[in-house]
């Protein structure tokens, strides 16, 4: 590819939105409008002839590189298949605290864990493992969190009382926790 085509390719790749020709002209002060048009044509042709997984498209007066439609389904499937999300240690400890001490507010969790848990609460909430179950008494009436039916379902528990009591934990844990 020509140097200008390479520059345009990098810029289109790095831009968060379709880039109008005017803005592409700003990339190289010495490049004429005709040169930019030729370089864009060169990229488009290169993608088509060499058989790339992407293509150059003009949308709403701007240019962008897009994944070819025929691959999108496989990509979405692969994302789902390959990323069994694991909860971070932070999320796990927060979930554990809420399970055993609900209803529980953010401030109390942060006091116990010693770090801020805003984003952790958000992701647990998005996964449906916790939900807001009420408001606390204190200043600002803080949100209180509790576990959800999805939480029970996830761990195949019929009700919360099926979790071992805190004084029984040591026993339950000796059952080689890693082995599952």
């Amino acid at each position: 590819m020509t140097p200008l085509a390479k520059l345009l390719e990098a810029a289109l790749f790095a831009s968060a939105r379709p880039v109008p020709t005017e803005e592409l002209l700003a990339l190289d002060p010495e490049a004429s409008r005709a040169a930019v048009a030729a370089a864009l044509e060169e990229i488009r042709e290169h993608y088509d002839v060499e058989g790339h997984g992407v293509e150059l498209t003009e949308i709403g007066g701007g240019w962008q590189i897009l994944t070819r439609a025929e691959y999108t389904e496989a990509i979405e499937r692969a994302q789902l298949a390959a990323r069994p999300a694991r909860l971070s240690a932070a999320a796990l400890e927060t979930l554990a605290l809420i399970a055993y001490r609900q209803p529980l507010g953010r401030a109390e969790i942060e006091e116990i864990r010693g770090v801020s848990v805003g984003s952790v609460l958000k992701s647990l909430h998005e996964r449906g493992l916790i939900d807001v179950v009420g408001r606390g008494e204190g200043l600002g009436r803080p949100l209180l969190y509790g576990t959800t039916p999805i939480f029970l379902e996830y761990f195949a528990l019929r009700h919360l009382e099926e979790l071992p009591r805190s004084d029984e934990l040591a026993i339950a844990l000796r059952a080689e926790p890693r082995a599952l």
Binding site: R17, T67, L80, Y154, R165, D167, I171, A175
Partner: protein
């Protein structure tokens, strides 16, 4: 080996922002190391009196706002200076150089700064390359399934319990006997593995009510067909097996 490379302070060309960061000093050790380099003195034989004076002067002029950290270092330097003035015992043997600890810390800090240089270069290299920014599938991709086991959750509870003075988890009321509780434990254990032993359930030093609850719970579960209980010979460890039938259910 014994010399600090005198060029060390000067090896920072590049953009002007580096200079700004350097004059800010990331802490008292950073300042101290800079002084030692500027003065080109041997890190293993620091002229404490001179360096301490420079250090004090510098923190005065810079009006460093995290003064506490810097003042602590200043006090340390002055203490070492005083110790060096004390008469040494006969002969030099058995004399601990009061600067030794400081030298050790400086070397450790210097090693870390070396890593910082590595990270800084790597970070700069990465900063200069853009990742894909335009993602047409603006809709959030479907949530991937969560990989999490009950035992991991319990381990997290356990971590918190061991760590926190008063996590306020489930107030425990001593009961005369607690069969449902014991059944809960046994179920949790059997959920984790197919075989267990009596000694997994009853710890050494368990209270009599705990032993009794576990025994009754176990018998109850055997009756319900949730597990099988076997004792090969008298006083042998009791073997508990998850019942295949209930497992299938």
């Amino acid at each position: 080996m014994m010399e600090v490379p005198p060029t060390a302070g000067a090896e920072l060309p590049g953009p002007a922002s580096f200079v700004v960061e350097l004059t800010d000093f990331s802490g008292p050790l950073d300042l101290l190391l800079t002084l030692i380099r500027e003065e080109q003195v041997d890190i293993y034989d620091i002229p404490i009196a001179r360096v301490a004076e420079q250090f004090l002067q510098r923190i005065r002029t810079l009006q460093l706002n995290e003064a506490a950290d810097y003042l602590e270092m200043a006090a340390r330097l002055l203490r070492i200076k005083a110790q060096l003035l004390l008469p040494r015992p006969e002969g030099d043997e058995g004399w601990d150089d009061p600067r030794a600890e400081l030298v050790r810390r400086l070397l450790e800090y210097q090693q870390m700064r070396e890593v910082v240089d590595v990270l800084e270069r790597a970070g700069e290299e990465r900063r200069n390359r853009f990742a894909r920014a335009y993602l047409p599938q603006a809709a959030a991709p479907p949530e991937s399934p969560l990989a999490l086991s009950l035992s991991e959750l319990l381990a997290a509870v356990d971590r918190i319990l061991r760590v926190t003075k008063d996590p306020g988890v489930h107030d425990v009321v001593p009961r005369a006997i607690d069969v449902p509780g014991a059944i809960g434990v046994i179920r949790a254990l059997l959920a984790l593995r197919a075989h267990a032993r009596w000694t997994d359930l009853v710890t050494r030093g368990a209270e009599p009510w705990q032993v009794l609850s576990t025994l009754l719970g176990l018998l109850e579960m055997a009756k319900l067909g949730e597990c099988r209980v076997q004792q090969p010979r008298p006083f042998a460890n009791v073997e508990i097996t998850r019942d295949a039938a209930s497992e299938a259910a």
